[in-house]
């Protein structure tokens, strides 16, 4: 017998939502609002972001902190709904900057200093979910 919460599960509606906190340690400026920053690509020890224009220049040193929104199941009774979970803290150098227009830049960061376990965790979080999605698609359409 199927229970109601198996049919209609609130967890199914939750998505990983990343928050990117960007600080330019060379110019001592930062982008405080994580909604303005987006992590687009992950490479072999490099990250590509979409950021507001003029936030940095080539060779600048940066500090990036990546967190994610907590799920309901991860929050205690005293936790706020906007509680964030730390994922990765990276010190890096700006490798490449591309002007995308509309005051947005594509910035490639070469990651210089970070925790390997956190890095692997972040990669696995997405690679395992990608693999699950591919399996699900194969099963659904087969």
């Amino acid at each position: 017998m199927i229970k109601a919460d198996e049919v209609f599960n609130a967890n199914d509606f939750e998505s990983i939502r990343l928050h990117i906190y960007f600080s330019n340690t060379t110019t001592r400026t930062e982008i405080r609002d994580p909604k303005k920053n987006e992590l687009v690509e992950i490479g072999d020890k490099w990250l590509v972001f979409e950021l507001p224009s003029k936030c940095c220049a080539k060779q600048h040193s940066v500090l990036i902190e990546i967190t994610r929104s907590s799920k309901k199941s991860e929050r205690g009774p005293k936790d706020k709904p906007d509680k964030e979970i730390d994922l990765l803290s990276v010190t890096g150098k700006v490798h490449h900057v591309q002007d995308l227009g509309e005051d947005r830049w594509r910035v490639t960061i070469e990651c210089v200093q970070f925790d390997e376990t956190e890095w692997t965790s972040l990669l696995n979080m997405y690679s395992s979910r990608q693999a699950e999605i591919e399996q699900f698609f194969a099963a659904v359409k087969g």
């Binding site: 109601a4 209609f8 659904v140």
Partner: protein
């Protein structure tokens, strides 16, 4: 990548890409740029790649350019990228069969993934992506289209025969297909379709069920079975299947509406309340979901009124009103239900919940009049009713009340005029209005 290093598949893929039109729709300029580069590296020509950042632009490009490959973000402003595919299927069904449709998105939720799978898109890529994943996924999806395995070729052959209504040969093709894959659920589904068209319902059911034995979440087999059971009016069995579908394919509001409808048809009102409890835990509720849940709560409330569980009914109406805050249609249904069961005081309480900005709306004015009909004196009612009719409000009950009240006040001329207006506007209620004024001639 030098040509010498390419495999035959890679060469076929590069040749295919070199002549294809590609559309990339994503609000993120960096994502568009990244995917653009991947396609260039894979062999696509820059001039053939169009980049857009809104749903509207994407739709225009699909209509004008007719791209062979569409890469869309799931969240395109307020619209869903999947709606592009739905619209394209309706507008250009033939072209859509040949089009590759891939979602690239930061939305990792199972509800989004399930919805995409239901729409039968070709691939779903997560952001942040790695170039390798994008490359591999696009290649795999494309090769599946341009060099499909024998199993898929046989099924497509069967589908073409089915479209020509050549059932014997279509059935043979699908039977052949079942030998070409270790888990031939899709072939079983199409065999079920053939049986259904031949009106051999039990065999159709057997085929869908067999498909589900190979793969318990095969979407087409689940939906095929569900539609068959609904057609046979086996609502209880259909309810169990649609619950199973919803288990694996969440967040489809239409599916939820069916779950709710069948729950009500099968008298499982407590299930509706359980779904509501879960619904309250969802952060991102879309408008359609809210509408269906509120409607189901109101229908359940009406049932409880008829079964004399007034307190339970009021609890559900309160939940529906709270969840559907500002949605006047929900409030209107609640007030009407309470009036139908002579709960005038409670009807007035829910009438007061109409938001101020809606209190000049037709829904509010009519409900307000209907409550007045139970609380006010006759001359107030008649005066108000005249005002509403002069305003142009069209409602059967408005006219029915006005005819009745006019007769009570011995305003036979007015009653007769209203009668003729009513039968003209609501011809399907002619007999009811005739019965009302028959008393006028008797007395």
């Amino acid at each position: 990548m030098s040509p010498a290093a390419q495999s035959p598949e890679q060469e076929a893929f590069a040749r295919y890409l070199s002549t294809r039109k590609i559309l990339i729709a994503d609000p993120s300029a960096a994502a568009r740029s990244g995917i653009f580069k991947v396609f260039q590296e894979l062999g696509a020509k820059s001039a053939q790649i169009t980049l857009v950042n809104t749903y509207k632009q994407a739709q225009e490009q699909i209509e004008q350019v007719k791209p062979h490959i569409v890469i869309a973000e799931y969240e395109l402003g307020r619209r869903c990228g999947l709606d592009l595919l739905q619209n394209q299927r309706q507008a250009q069904p033939t072209e859509t069969k040949e089009t590759l449709f891939i979602v690239v998105t930061g939305n990792t939720s199972q509800s989004a993934v399930a919805r995409a799978a239901e729409e039968d898109i070709d691939a779903y890529i997560l952001k942040p992506f790695t170039v390798e994943v994008v490359r591999k996924t696009i290649m795999k999806a494309t090769l599946m289209k341009i060099r499909p395995p024998e199993y898929v070729v046989q099924i497509e052959k069967g589908k073409a025969l089915l479209a020509e209504a050549n059932l014997d040969e279509a059935e043979a093709a699908f039977q052949q297909a079942t030998t070409l894959d270790p888990q031939p659920s899709l072939a079983c589904y199409y065999l079920g379709q053939v049986k259904y068209l031949r009106q051999i319902v039990e065999e159709a059911k057997g085929s869908y069920s067999k498909g589900l034995e190979f793969n318990k979440i095969h979407y087409k087999c689940l939906v095929g079975l569900y539609e068959l059971l609904v057609g046979q009016k086996l609502h209880s069995d259909a309810y169990e299947i649609v619950k199973r579908i919803s288990q694996y394919f969440p967040a489809n509001p239409k599916r939820l509406a069916e779950v709710l409808r069948l729950a009500i048809v099968n008298g499982k009102y407590e299930d509706v309340e359980k779904y509501y409890a879960i619904f309250c835990n969802i952060d991102d509720r879309d408008e359609t979901l809210i509408k269906y849940i509120c409607a189901a709560l109101v229908v359940c409330g009406r049932y409880y009124l008829s079964a004399k569980f007034k307190t339970r009914a009021l609890e559900l109406f309160t939940k529906a009103a709270a969840t559907g805050t500002g949605r006047v249609k929900i409030l209107k249904e609640i007030v009407q239900a309470l009036l139908d069961f002579d709960m005038t005081k409670e009807a007035a309480q829910f009438l007061a919940k109409f938001p101020p900005e809606s209190q000049s709306s037709d829904e509010y004015l009519l409900m307000s009049f209907k409550v007045l009909n139970t609380t006010g004196n006759r001359s107030q009612i008649i005066e108000k009713g005249r005002e509403l009719i002069q305003k142009g409000l069209q409602d059967e009950q408005l006219y029915a009340i006005m005819i009745q009240r006019s007769l009570e006040a011995r305003l036979t001329g007015a009653a007769e005029t209203l009668y003729y207006q009513a039968i003209e506007k609501f011809p399907h209620r002619k007999k009811d209005f005739e019965q009302m004024v028959a008393t006028m001639y008797e007395t």
